[in-house]
C-alpha cells in the first residue's frame, strides 16, 4: 500500500516551506532531515572551512576522515542544500538575516552562550518572530544551570537516565552504539514542535519561538521511570537482557545465532508453553503471572532454552510468529539489508554521493498516501549551494560572492 492512486497533489506536506538550519550537532540535523523528507526546502548554513560539526563523526570510507564522507553527515543531511557562512562576522550576520527574511522557519543548535555573545544578530532574528518559527534544539534548553555544559551523545545519555539502564547489573552502564539513537529521539521531538508551530502559523500567520531540550526529550521517551519511582519506590537498574516484571523478554542463543524471545501477554505465554510442548508450565506456580516468571527467570530460562538451541534463528522466528508470539531474529547489518519485508516495501533508498559512492540508506519512516515522503538526494558537499542560494535566491552578484569569499565570510 504505497502511494495511493487517488492522490491529486503528489508533493510533500511541507513543499514550499523554507527552512534554515544552523546546526553543528546530530539532533537538529535529524530534525531537519525529517522536515526535508516531508518536502521542505532546507538550507544548512555551515561554517566555512570545516563545515558543520557532524561532518567530523565517523566512520569514513577506508577510515580516512574526510568532511564529505562521514556516515552521520551522509545520513542526517540528505535532501538538503549546503551554504557556507561565517555568521559571526558582521557581513555574515547581515546575510543570515537576509536568508531568514526569505524563510519560514529557523532550526538551530547554537550554544546559548554564543547566542548571548552575538545578541545583536539574534535580536534581529527575534524581531522576525511575528512570522518566523524559530526553534532552538540544544542539549539542555535555553535556561537552567546545565545550559552551558559541554556535551556529547554519551554524556547526554548519562544525564537523561538512559545509560543507567543499559548493561549488566553492577557493570559499566552502556550507550547504544553509534551516534544516532539520542539524536533520532531528540530530533523527532523537535520536528513535532516545528510542525505544530508551522501548522498554527498556517492558520494565524504568526510565528513563535520554540525551546527544545534534548535531555527532556530523552526523558520523555524513556518508560516514565521517574513517575514509576514516585508511585512505587521501584528503581529499575541495569538488568542485562531483561525488562522488569516481564519474562521472557530476552535474547537466547540458538543454533546459528540469537533470537529475541518476547512474551508479554497471558495469551502469548499460553501459546509459548504449548508451542514448545510444555503445557505443564502453565500450571507451575512459579510462572503464573509475569511477575512470577520474572522472579524465577533463571529457572524458566533453563527450561525454555533447549527449544531455542535446537533450532535456527529463522525457525524460532517463524514458529513463534505462527503462534502469534512476537519473536524475532537478532539481525546483523547484512541481515537487515537483506530483509524481504523491507524490500517488499521499497524501504531502503539507493543514494549516490560524489565522494562516498552509492549506498542503500534507511528510507521513509512514514508512508503517506497523499503527501509522499521525498526520495532522498545525497547530502550536499560543503557550500555546494552557495551560488544557488546567495546569488540566485537572494540576488547577490557574482562579484559580491567573490568578495565575501575573499573575506572568508563564505
Amino acid at each position: 500500500m504505497s502511494n495511493a492512486s487517488d492522490s491529486t497533489a503528489a508533493s510533500g506536506a511541507l513543499s514550499g516551506v523554507r527552512i534554515v538550519e544552523l546546526s553543528s550537532g546530530v539532533p537538529a540535523a535529524l530534525c531537519c532531515k525529517i522536515l526535508a523528507g516531508l518536502g521542505a526546502q532546507v538550507v544548512k548554513v555551515e561554517p566555512p572551512g570545516d563545515g558543520s560539526g557532524i561532518r567530523r563523526l565517523g566512520p569514513f570510507p577506508g577510515d580516512t576522515p574526510h568532511p564529505e564522507s562521514g556516515v552521520v553527515h551522509l545520513f542526517a543531511d540528505t535532501s538538503k542544500q549546503s551554504v557556507t557562512l561565517d555568521w559571526r562576522a558582521p557581513a555574515g550576520a547581515d546575510l543570515l538575516v537576509r536568508l531568514l527574511e526569505d524563510a519560514d522557519a529557523l532550526v538551530e543548535d547554537v550554544p546559548p552562550a554564543e547566542k548571548d555573545a552575538a545578541h545583536s544578530l539574534f535580536d534581529r532574528v527575534a524581531r522576525m518572530e511575528q512570522r518566523l518559527v524559530w526553534t532552538a534544539v540544544t542539549p539542555f534548553g535555553q535556561t537552567g544551570p546545565y545550559r552551558d555544559l559541554r556535551m556529547t551523545d554519551l554524556t547526554l545519555a548519562a544525564l537523561s537516565g538512559w545509560l543507567f539502564q543499559t548493561g549488566e547489573p553492577g557493570q559499566e552502564p552502556l550507550k547504544a552504539q553509534g551516534h544516532l539513537a539520542e539524536g533520532c529521539v531528540a530530533g523527532a521531538t523537535a520536528a513535532i514542535g516545528v510542525l505544530a508551530a508551522l501548522f498554527r502559523r498556517g492558520m494565524s500567520g504568526a510565528g513563535q519561538r520554540l525551546d527544545v531540550s534534548c535531555m527532556e526529550s530523552l526523558i520523555s521517551a524513556n518508560r516514565f521511570l521517574e513517575t514509576t519511582y514516585a508511585y512505587t519506590g521501584y528503581m529499575t537498574s541495569r538488568l542485562g537482557n531483561r525488562l522488569p516484571n516481564t519474562y521472557p523478554y530476552t535474547i537466547y542463543p540458538c543454533k546459528d545465532g540469537h533470537v529475541a524471545a518476547i512474551c508479554i501477554t497471558d495469551a502469548q505465554w499460553e501459546s509459548l508453553c504449548n508451542m514448545i510442548g510444555m503445557p505443564e508450565l502453565l500450571d507451575d506456580p512459579r510462572f503464573t503471572i509475569n511477575r512470577d516468571r520474572f522472579q524465577n527467570a533463571d529457572a524458566l530460562g533453563a527450561l525454555l532454552m533447549p527449544w531455542f538451541q535446537q533450532r535456527t534463528a529463522q525457525e524460532c522466528f517463524e514458529t513463534g510468529q505462527l503462534w502469534r508470539i512476537p519473536f524475532s531474529k537478532v539481525n546483523s547489518m547484512a541481515d537487515l539489508l537483506a530483509m524481504e519485508q523491507l524490500h517488499s516495501r521499497g524501504y531502503f533508498e539507493s543514494v549516490r554521493h560524489p565522494v562516498a559512492g552509492e549506498m542503500r540508506y534507511p528510507g521513509p519512516a512514514i508512508r503517506f498516501t497523499a503527501s509522499p515522503w521525498r526520495a532522498a538526494s545525497a547530502a550536499p558537499t560543503l557550500g555546494q549551494h552557495n551560488e544557488q542560494v546567495w546569488c540566485r535566491r537572494l540576488g547577490l552578484s557574482r562579484d559580491d560572492l567573490a568578495r565575501l569569499r575573499r573575506q572568508g565570510v563564505v
Binding site: M1, P59, D63, S69, V71, F75, G141, G144, P145, M151, T152, L154, T155, A157, A158, L159, G161, L163, E168, L174, L180, A181, A188, I192, G193, A196, F199, G202, A206, Q208, R209, E216, S217, A221, R223, F224, E226, Y234, N241, N245, I262, I264, T265, N290, K329, V330, N331, S332, M333, A334, D335, L336, M339, E340, A356, M359, P362, F368, T369, S371
Partner: protein, 415 residues
Amino acid sequence: MPGPLEGVRVLDLSTWWAGPLGTMFLADLGAEVIKIEAIQRVDSYRGTFAGQVPSDKPYETSPVFNAVNRNKRGVTLDMASAKGAEVFRRLVRASDVVCENYSARVMENLGVEYAALRRHNPTLVMVSLTGFGRSGPWRDYVAFAATVEALSGIPSVTGYAGGPPLLPGAIMGDPLPGLFCAIAVLAALEHRRRTGQGQYVDMSQLEPTTWTVADALLDFQMNRRTWPRQGNRVAEMAPHGAYRCLGDDEWVAIAVEDDGQWRRLCDVIGRPELALPRKGYADLAGRQAHAKDVRQDIEAWTRQRDKREAMRLLQEAGVAAGAVLNPRDLLSDPQMQSRGFFPVVDRAEVGPRPYPGCPIKLSATPAGIRSPAPLLGEHNGLALRELLGMTRSEMEGLARDCVIGTAPLSTPPAR
C-alpha cells in the same frame, strides 16, 4: 493560552506505549485526544506497575499508563458490537484524526478500516501503526519493541566486548515510532490545511527504529565492516565511557573529544604526567591502545568522588562529563527543577505525583500538562452528548448493553 493544535480532534484507538506516546504529544500541544478503550478489553498498559498504590481500582494505578495518557479524554466503546462500531463511525464524522495500532484484520472485521471510515468523513486523517507496516509478507506479524529492535540490528552492535548481543535498556522500538506517529499526524494535518485532502498513513515500528543504526549500516556497505560489540568505545574519542564513582553503582560518563581536553582532564585528576608524550597517552591512538590503564588512572580519581562533584570539576575544565543519573536523581535534578520539568499533577486513585512535562516549549501557544489521565470511561457522557448529541436514555441503553461503561469486565494482568 491555547496550544498550537487547539481545535484538532483525535480519536485514539492505540494501546500500550508507541501510539499513545504519539497522541500524548498531540494532546500536550492542545489537540483534543479522545482515548477509546472497551470495558471488555482495556489498554493492557494499565497493568504495567499497577496495583502498588493502594486503590480498589488497580487498573487506574499504572504510573506509565497515567503518564502517557495525560491531557486525554477517556471514552469506553465496545467496537466489537454493532452498536459500538456505529457510535465510533459517528465519532469519526465529528473528528479530524484516527490513530490505531490494531492488525489490518481486526480493523476490517470491525468495519472501521480507512476505506469505510472515509465514507463518513472524506477529509479524515488516519494513521495505522503496526510492527511491520500494512504491506509486505510480514504485515500480520506481531511485534513488541524488542522484536523490531532485534531485527533492526541494534542488539548486534550493543553489548560488552566479547559479550552477547544486548537489548538497549533505553528502549527504541516503541518511543521512536511513537514520535514519528505524531509527525505523521501533523504533516497530514498540514497537507489537509493546504489542500482540503485527508489521507491514510501507514507506519511501522521497524522502519523508524532502523534510523538509529544508519551509521552502522552505511559503514557495513562502505567498509564491509561488521561492528563488534565494544562497550562504550567509539572511534573518534577516548576516553569514552562510564567511570565508577563514590557509592554503590554510581558512575560518571566522560567523553574526551581531543588531546587538549585530555590534558585538562589529567590536570583535574592531579596526574598531569599522563598527558606527556612519553606516557603514550597523549594522542587518541595511544589512549585507545591503553584503554585499561587509562580507565584505572581515571577511576583512581572518580572512585573517591561523588558523581556530581566529578562532573562539576571536569565540566569546569571544559571536559564533557555527565553523571549517570537514575530516576530518583532526575526527580531532584537541578536542571529539571529549574525548568519545572516534572510538574506534580493530582489524579483520582493515585493522588499527586510527578510526571515528565512537554520537552517542547513554545512562546506563543504553549504545550504542557493541563489535566491528568482520564479514569476509565470518565468522559463518556461529555463526548457522546457534546459530540453526538446523545440523550440520557440512549446512553443508558448503551451502558445496559455494555457498549459503554466505567468498570472493566476483565482487568489486565499486573506486570
